[in-house]
C-alpha cells in the first residue's frame, strides 16, 4: 500500500470516524518502521476507540467515588507499566551513573503505593466501589516496543506522567465536597508532577511544559497529552505579558477532562 497516503489519511476526519477495529488499524502499520509507526498513531482519536473486542474503560461519574475509581485505573496503568519495565530490563542499569534505574525504581514504588492507597480508600477489593485492574497492552497491538526499546519506554513514561498530572487536576472539582479525599488526591497529584519533571529532565527537556509542545523526541501520537497546555489567560490575567507565552504557559499546568484521559488510557487497554 501507499504508506504516505495512509498516514496522510489520518488527518482525514472520515477515517477517524470509521468503525475499523484498532487492531485492524495497527495491522496496516505492520511493514513500516517502528519510528514511523510511533509518529503516526494518534492518541485518543475516535478511529482507535471503536475497538471490536476491546474492554475500554468508560468515564466515571463526577462524584468523589468516581474520581477515586478513575484515579485507581490510572494508577493501575502506571504501576503495571513501571513494574513490567523493571522486570524487562529495558532500563539500563548503568545509564547516567545508575540515575535512570534509581529514578524509575522510585517512581514504580510510588505508583504501587498509590494503587494500594486508593484501593484502601475505596473500601478494599471486596467493596462495591472497587474497580478491578483492566488488561493493559503497552505495545498497543505491537506498534510500540516500550520494554525492548528504552527511548520508547521513556517517551511513554513522560506521556503517562504528564497525563497523570493533568488527570488529577481535572478531578479536583469532583472532590471539593470531601476535604480529606481532596487532600489525598492533591498529595498524589504533586508526586506525579515530581515524576513528570524528572522524566522530562532525563529526556533532556525542561521539567515543565512550554506552550502545548510535547517536546523533542516525543512521538506525534502523544500530542493529545499536551493539547490545551498552552493557555496564557488565567482568570483574566495574561501570563504571557511579563516574560512571553512560553514562560507564562509553563507557570501553569492545565487539566484534562475525564473523557480526554479515558480516551488516552483506552489506547493501552485491551
Amino acid at each position: 500500500m501507499n504508506i504516505l497516503k495512509f498516514i496522510e489519511s489520518f488527518t482525514d476526519d472520515n477515517l477517524m470516524n470509521s468503525t475499523g477495529s484498532r487492531r485492524d488499524s495497527f495491522s496496516q502499520f505492520g511493514n513500516i518502521g517502528k519510528n514511523l509507526a510511533l509518529a503516526s498513531i494518534p492518541f485518543g482519536l475516535s478511529a482507535l476507540t471503536n475497538k471490536a473486542f476491546a474492554k475500554d474503560i468508560t468515564a466515571t461519574p463526577a462524584t468523589p467515588i468516581g474520581a477515586l475509581q478513575f484515579a485507581l485505573t490510572l494508577e493501575y496503568l502506571e504501576n503495571e507499566f513501571y513494574a513490567m519495565a523493571l522486570d524487562s530490563g529495558v532500563i539500563p542499569a548503568s545509564e547516567n551513573g545508575g540515575r535512570d534505574l534509581k529514578v524509575f525504581q522510585q517512581i514504580a514504588a510510588h505508583e504501587s503505593d498509590h494503587v494500594k492507597f486508593l484501593i484502601a480508600g475505596l473500601g478494599g477489593s471486596a467493596s462495591a466501589n472497587f474497580v478491578p485492574k483492566p488488561t493493559f497492552d503497552f505495545t498497543v497491538g505491537g506498534a510500540f516496543n516500550p520494554f525492548g526499546d528504552y527511548p520508547t519506554f521513556l517517551a511513554l513514561a513522560q506521556a503517562f506522567e504528564d497525563t497523570g498530572v493533568r488527570a488529577y487536576k481535572g478531578q479536583a472539582a469532583n472532590l471539593i465536597t470531601t476535604p480529606d479525599l481532596l487532600t489525598a488526591a492533591l498529595q498524589i497529584h504533586s508526586v506525579e508532577a515530581r515524576h513528570a519533571s524528572e522524566v522530562r529532565r532525563l529526556r533532556g527537556l525542561k521539567g515543565w511544559i512550554s506552550n502545548s509542545e510535547r517536546g523533542a523526541g516525543m512521538p506525534a501520537a502523544t500530542q493529545a497529552v499536551y493539547d490545551g497546555e498552552g493557555v496564557t489567560m488565567q482568570a483574566g490575567f495574561n501570563t504571557a505579558t511579563a516574560f512571553g507565552a512560553a514562560a507564562g504557559s509553563e507557570a501553569y499546568d492545565e487539566p484534562l477532562t475525564t473523557q480526554q484521559v479515558v480516551d488516552i488510557a483506552n489506547i493501552f487497554i485491551v
Binding site: V103, Y168, K206, W208, A251
Partner: protein, 248 residues
C-alpha cells in the same frame, strides 16, 4: 559514594523546615508573624467578616475562606518571586551556576514572578475593596544567606519549593470555590515540578527528586501542611508583619 558530595542541607533526615531555618540564620523568635490563637482581643465587632483580608488591630490579617487562602498564596508567591529575583541578579550568577542550572533558576524566576503578579491581579479584581484588603507588597530579609553560593541558593530553593507544595496541598481543602481550587491546582503541580528539578540539580544520580524525606514511603503521598505550619517557615524571610488568625 554520591553521599560524600551531599551538602548538609539535603540530608534526608532533615525536614524542609529545619533546613530552612538553618539556612536563614534566623530563628522563630524573630518572626514577624502572629499566628492564630495568639491574641484574644479580636476586633470582631468592627470587622465581623473574617473571610476578608485587611487591617485588624493595626496589623494586616490574611482573613479566612477563599480570600484568606488566596491571600496566603499571594504572600508565599511574593516570597518565591523575591528570592529568585535576587538569585538571578546576584553578581556571580553567571559564574557560580552551570548553564543548565541558570536555565532552571531563570525559569523559576519567571514562573514565580508570573504567579505573584497573577495573584495580585486576581485579588485586586475579586476583593470588594482592594485598596484596604489587598495584601501589601511584603519586605524580605534573608539574613546571612549568600546569593553567590550555589550550595546555599539551591538548598534554599529546595526548601522554598517543597514548602510551596506542602502549603498548596494543605490549603486545597480550605478552598470552597471550584474555579479557585483549579487555579491553585494548576500552580501546585508546577511548584512540584520545580521542587523535583532543584532536588535533582543538587543530587542528580539519586531518587531525591521525589525522595523518601518528602514523599511518604508507605502511601506515596507528598507533604501537606496547614498554614499555621507553613507561615513560621516563611516568616524566617518575611519582615513585614501580618497575621493569619483565621486560617488553620
Amino acid at each position: 559514594m554520591k553521599n560524600e558530595v551531599k551538602i548538609h542541607e539535603v540530608d534526608p533526615s532533615l525536614n524542609s523546615r529545619r533546613s530552612f531555618l538553618k539556612l536563614s540564620g534566623l530563628t522563630l523568635a524573630t518572626t514577624g508573624l502572629i499566628l492564630a490563637g495568639c491574641s484574644d482581643n479580636d476586633n470582631d465587632n468592627d470587622m465581623p467578616d473574617t473571610s476578608l483580608p485587611g487591617i485588624r488591630n493595626g496589623v494586616f490579617d490574611l482573613g479566612s475562606g477563599d480570600f484568606g487562602v488566596l491571600t496566603y498564596a499571594y504572600a508565599l508567591e511574593q516570597l518565591e518571586a523575591d528570592f529568585y529575583t535576587k538569585v538571578v541578579n546576584a553578581s556571580s550568577f553567571n559564574t557560580v551556576f552551570s548553564s543548565l542550572e541558570r536555565e532552571v533558576l531563570t525559569d523559576l524566576y519567571h514562573h514565580e514572578v508570573v504567579h505573584r503578579d497573577f495573584f495580585k491581579a486576581a485579588l485586586t479584581g475579586a476583593l470588594p475593596d482592594p485598596s484596604s484588603q489587598l495584601l501589601p507588597s511584603l519586605a524580605f530579609n534573608y539574613g546571612s544567606l549568600n546569593f553567590n553560593s550555589r550550595t546555599e541558593v539551591l538548598a534554599t530553593a529546595k526548601a522554598l519549593e517543597d514548602t510551596g507544595v506542602a502549603a498548596y496541598n494543605g490549603a486545597g481543602k480550605l478552598i470552597k470555590t471550584a474555579d479557585y481550587l483549579l487555579l491553585a491546582g494548576k500552580i501546585v503541580s508546577v511548584e512540584a515540578r520545580h521542587a523535583a528539578a532543584i532536588r535533582s540539580l543538587i543530587n542528580p544520580n539519586s531518587k531525591d527528586f521525589a525522595g523518601d524525606d518528602i514523599v511518604n514511603m508507605s502511601t506515596g503521598l507528598d507533604d501537606a501542611k496547614d498554614p499555621s505550619k507553613i507561615l513560621p517557615i516563611a516568616a524566617g524571610f518575611i519582615t513585614t508583619k501580618f497575621t493569619a488568625k483565621y486560617l488553620p
